[in-house]
Amino acid sequence: MRRSNSAALLVGLLALLVLVWTLAPVAWMVVSSFKPTPAIKTASPTWLFEPTLEHYRDLIGAGNDVRPFARNSLLAAGLSTALAVGLGALGGYGLAHWHHKSKKHLAFWIISTRMAPIAAVILPLFILFRQLGLIDSIAGLTLAYLSFNLPFAIWLMSAFFADVPPSLEEAARVDGCSRWQAFWYVVLPTTTPGLVTTGVLCLVFSWNDYAFASSFSGPGSQTLPMAAGRLITQGGVDWGQLTALGTIIVLPMIFAGLAVRRWLVTGLTMGAVTGE
């Protein structure tokens, strides 16, 4: 019995190590956001301090208000997510059921657009957006986000649709449904987890974007990650506000992500691996 006991102890220790490595930075960020500035600026860490909300208050203070940034983030990420899920559901269904010899090529093209390096995509999109007047607009950002969210949504939804038993749709057809009706009333509702997972992941990807926003956004469309840049000032880096802002950017996405944990593996591998 001794051997398995020490093995369990080892596993416990390693698990603890994993947790500390993973969570310490996040925890430190959240804790620091409640520290008064002098307690942040110490060479050895301050463990005891009187918590303060001043950094959060400063983030909505005069001349430094992050609320417009948050609104732009919500709009751009939300719109592109809605479009990606809508179009992706239709496209995903089509892809899952389309049997044609060029299917492989089509699938390949879709996935390769998702993998295109952001830096390479920014260049031509900038030229196009400039011609179309989409620079510094929520519409432009929405489209830019769609360029990576849509292929992702098509693939992921097609994986979910592929798992729906064909008998379900056949039964609906026997009952007299048109194909569209069978899709809309029977097949689609069974993929609700897929829709939610796709939506959440698209939201996370676009909410977290920095490269597109920093190239295409202007004074009227800057997103939350852009706000972080303003806090590195000549009066020194304002780590209090930065950690507060980091917390605000990060927490909603962590909760959203954990909410779809059951389908996360499927989602993140675009259906290549099925989770629990």
């Binding site: 060479a43 510094d136 009227g220 840049g229 590195i232 880096v237």
Partner: protein, 482 residues
């Protein structure tokens, strides 16, 4: 030298002379007495014509912009114009401005036009302000253009053509020697004894002596202060600034034409002179100095070095004088200032002033509203307001502000205007023989990047100082096609 931009040595000296003379003309203009609020009311008509217009101002996150952002109300009440201010790190600003000028629209109407990274490469994107200067229906520039320090008007506002003006001088940070006066005071005698010279920072000391002082702190005062010196040596624009001080002190320069390129600039700077012996000697010294500096130096830009200094990590550092205000907050009464040390040639203190200009893509109405804003933002009253602001304090570009009795009085502690504590050192640094002006050329963003990359490689031990200078010069010549 490029013949198309005749900047004679005399006109340069003339401009510089006026600048240097500042220090010796106390109160000659009799600064306006009115308070900030009153100032904006006192100016005449013409302010309210563009009511309801919204303009966007893009600025580096510098103290005057922070102060203005926190105190826009007087302007908005005076004019009915709404101003949004976007502040960001300089590298990001240059990218954003470049993108905005390219977009064909004007996302930003008022541009913080760094003379080297924005004005020189993108001067076509900026409005020639002379078209507003004489217009009767706009409020006049208080005290006229001549109230601006003339060197700064040229260096910060013009490019290639003396008849055109692209920006009004907005701030004027200059690099000087920041040091912990408390520690120097405490150890003065022992240091003088050990080192064999009076260590009190002044323009009389040399960079070698600066090095010796830093090493003395490292050896003898480690428990009080972790490092003798720290530098802004991140692979970033800041590294070019920090290195330039040494480069010029040792008699090196970027181009043959030297400081004359700093005023009106040129499109054809000719061959680079960075491979010269003086430049190599400077690089060798800088390399040696950085081996002694705080190891964080290679990750810091100006903000980083200021944070470290204010956190009590450094006994001294070269940095922009604008940090005086935040230094005073962090270490009240403990910080002293002096012009930077001299090399074999001179003391060189890089000037980092910037003007504000107007995006040429903006509509007529937006341009007019933007003009009202930059008129207001660079007015003596606003400059005094930013100087006195809680948010850190700007640095006036107008003679009349320096001439105010209350500004004069603030040179002594306790000071209501902590940035003025550095004024004596800055005035010395601004003298023509001491100021450091970068070449103003259209390709500067490439040249800047080449230089700070090569110097960064030198600091990392990847190449020798002479290689760093030679390869910089070669790459400069490729970019400038000479």
């Amino acid at each position: 030298m490029d013949g198309s931009t005749p900047v004679s040595r005399r006109s340069l000296l003339h401009g510089m002379g006026a600048l240097g003379a500042l220090a010796y003309l106390p109160g000659c203009k009799g600064g306006s007495k009115e308070s900030v609020g009153a100032a904006t009311e006192s100016v005449g008509d013409g302010w309210a014509r563009y009511k309801g217009t919204t303009i966007n101002f893009i600025s580096e996150n510098t103290p005057p912009s922070a102060a203005i952002a926190a105190n826009l109300k007087p302007f908005e009440e005076l004019t009915g114009i709404k101003v949004n201010i976007s502040q960001m790190e300089l590298t990001k600003l240059v990218e954003k401005v470049s993108l905005d000028f390219s977009s064909g629209q004007a996302g930003f109407h008022v541009i913080y036009a760094d003379p080297y990274q924005v004005l020189a490469p993108f001067s076509e994107g900026l409005v020639d302000l002379t078209k507003f200067l004489d217009k009767k229906d706009f409020p006049a520039l208080e005290n006229g253009l001549s109230d601006f320090i003339s060197t700064q008007l040229d260096a910060g506002g013009r490019f290639l053509d003396r008849q055109k003006l692209y920006a009004l001088p907005y701030d004027t940070p200059t690099m000087i020697w920041h040091y912990r006066a408390d520690l120097f005071e405490k150890h003065k005698d022992k240091m003088a004894h050990d080192l064999g010279f009076d260590p009190t920072p002044s323009i009389q000391l040399t960079w070698e002596q600066y090095y010796a002082i830093a090493r003395w702190f490292d050896k003898n005062a480690k428990s009080e202060i972790p490092y003798g010196t720290g530098h802004q040596a991140k692979q970033h624009d800041a590294l070019m600034c920090d290195f330039s001080n040494v480069l010029w002190a040792y008699g090196g320069d970027y181009f043959q034409a030297g400081p004359e390129l700093g005023l009106v600039g040129t499109k054809k700077p000719g061959k680079s002179t960075l491979s010269g012996n003086e430049a190599i000697a400077a690089a060798e010294f800088y390399n040696k100095l950085l081996k002694l500096a705080h190891p964080g130096s290679r990750t810091w830009d100006w903000d980083g070095v200021a944070s470290a200094f204010q956190a009590g990590q450094l006994a001294m550092c070269p940095n922009w004088h604008e940090f005086a205000a935040s230094n005073e907050k962090a270490l009240p009464g403990k910080v002293g200032y002096a012009p930077l040390p001299r090399g074999p040639k001179r003391s060189a203190n890089i000037w980092g002033g910037t003007g504000v200009g107007i995006n040429a893509n903006a509509s007529d109405k937006e341009q007019a509203a933007a003009w009202l804003f930059i008129n207001w933002a660079t007015s003596p009253a606003t400059q005094f307001m930013t100087l006195a602001s809680e948010k850190g304090g700007g640095t006036p570009t107008r003679r009349s502000v320096y001439a105010r009795p209350d500004v004069e009085a603030a040179k002594k502690r306790p000071s209501q205007l902590p940035n003025i504590l550095a004024a004596e050192a800055v005035n010395e640094a601004w003298k023509p023989e001491n100021i450091g002006l970068r070449p103003k050329v259209a390709t500067w963003n490439q040249l800047d990047t080449i230089l700070f990359t090569q110097v960064s490689r030198m600091l990392a031990g990847e190449i020798k100082p002479d290689e760093a200078m030679r390869s910089s010069a070669e790459k400069f010549d490729v970019v400038n096609k000479v």
